[in-house]
């Protein structure tokens, strides 16, 4: 399961987007808190990327197929960057983080714990997630941990575009008829998890003290809810009350059976020959 040193050095060269930084810059508790945050972000992007890549070949139109698959690839790219940063903080390997964990060790939010379902569901889910992600990235833009602020700025440039794409689809589906009905069903079933991106992190106080994160997760959840409310009501869609984050940690733990299946798919090759060099 251990990667060879040669492999690691090659991988470092192939990561021009990751700024160089000194891990010792952060005291161990802050480093651990930051690792926790990065893991949730990386897992969110990684898992969404794999769910949405399931549309490759079967999206409603050829153009959307290419576009949606490209968006999914973008998420994998963001996850790669975040896993690389995390690996450097922890002295581990990004591939092992991405593919070498058991399904129970993933920390994606519950919003991303559902299967692809139908097109309206995937649109609604991605729109909910992209809206949340924009808020989260906004809160890290001026992070006191400068390398994080730098990669967040790059990720934001792509995510802004993703959100625009999803806004177009939300407006289209909400126009009426069967698409609107399906969208309503999807939003209703996703709503309990809509704010799960902002499930509180165990050590987020440390991150706020260190100036790494601009606001507590609960504050970001409020901001996110206000944005959802604005768009949903402009489309004449139901705006349910916000569901407070569960205290049992379920928002980012104990993955569903659907996720276990997805995990089996995306780790399949890695598990064939752990530690193999490609």
């Amino acid at each position: 399961m251990t990667a060879t040193p040669e492999r690691r050095s090659t991988r470092q060269l192939a990561r021009p987007d990751l700024p160089r930084f000194d891990t010792e810059e952060l005291d161990p508790p802050t480093r651990e808190a930051l690792s926790g945050l990065l893991l949730t972000m990386a897992d969110d992007e990684f898992v969404l990327g794999f769910w949405d890549s399931e549309w490759t070949g079967i999206a409603p139109m050829l153009e959307e197929d290419v576009a949606f698959s490209s968006l999914a690839q973008d998420e994998i790219g963001h996850a790669r960057l975040l896993f690389e940063m995390l690996a450097q903080l922890r002295g581990s390997d990004a591939d092992d983080l991405a593919f070498g964990r058991t399904a129970d060790e993933y920390r994606h939010c519950r919003l991303l714990d559902h299967p692809r379902t139908d097109w309206a569901f995937s649109v609604a889910r991605r729109w909910l997630y992209d809206t949340a992600d924009a808020v989260r990235l906004g809160a890290l833009r001026r992070s006191g941990f400068v390398p994080l602020a730098q990669i967040v700025e790059k990720i934001r440039r792509e995510e802004t575009y993703h959100l625009m794409h999803m806004d177009v689809w939300m407006r289209r589906l909400a126009q009426g008829g069967e698409p609107r009905e399906r969208l309503e069903v999807a939003l209703a079933s996703l709503w309990p998890d809509a704010l799960s991106v902002f499930a509180p992190l165990p050590e987020e106080d440390l991150l706020i003290e260190a100036g790494i994160l601009a606001a507590p997760m609960s504050g970001l959840a409020d901001r996110h809810y206000e944005q959802l409310r604005g768009v949903l009501s402009s489309l004449g869609l139901t705006v349910p009350e916000p569901r407070p984050s569960s205290q049992d940690g379920r928002d980012r733990a104990k993955p569903s059976e659907s996720f276990r299946w997805l995990w089996g798919e995306f780790t399949m090759v890695h598990r064939l020959e752990p530690g193999a060099t490609w």
């Binding site: 139109m61 050829l62 153009e63 959307e64 290419v66 576009a67 490209s70 177009v168 289209r172």
Partner: protein, 154 residues
């Protein structure tokens, strides 16, 4: 994308003949009717032609087309199909409805001999050689560009 693509997503030649292969109404030879028609009239309002610029200063070249129900999605699709690998610095996305189509053979391929309109009718080689020699002689030991005009126009 369309079956009648002239170019594929990354400028590769497409599989089939270009739009010219489609049947078109015969141009009218009577009255003062406009010989150029709107390309999109009737058939395919959801098709957008995409032009791309590879680097700053290059001309915009036709990249291909996308099918999209509105301008917003056309823009998103053009970006993903013709720029997702950072191969473009600018795109133009044009609805086919806005394209004026001119393919009237009476205007573009007139039946009378037109070779007198082509520069190939004049044999320039010997004259140019002589002019270059003269220019070279005039410039001996001199960095000036006297006589360079003829050489430059070759």
């Amino acid at each position: 994308m369309l079956a009648d693509d002239t170019t594929g997503p990354l400028g590769q030649p497409g599989p089939a003949a270009g739009p010219a292969a489609k049947p078109k109404p015969a141009p009218s030879s009577e009255g003062g009717s406009d010989p150029a028609g709107r390309l999109g009239d009737g058939a395919q309002p959801d098709i957008w032609e995409v032009f791309r610029q590879e680097k700053d200063g290059d001309p915009m070249r036709h990249a291909g087309n996308v099918r999209a129900p509105d301008r917003d999605l056309a823009t998103h699709y053009a970006r993903e199909l013709y720029a997702r690998r950072q191969e473009s610095v600018r795109l133009w996305i044009v609805s086919r409805l806005d394209i004026t189509d001119l393919s009237d053979p009476d205007l573009l391929q007139p039946p009378l001999d037109r070779t007198f309109k082509k520069p190939g009718g004049y044999v320039m080689r010997d004259k140019l050689d002589a002019a270059r020699k003269r220019a070279a002689g005039a410039n001996d030991g001199d960095d000036g560009d006297e006589g360079g005009g003829l050489g430059a126009s070759a």
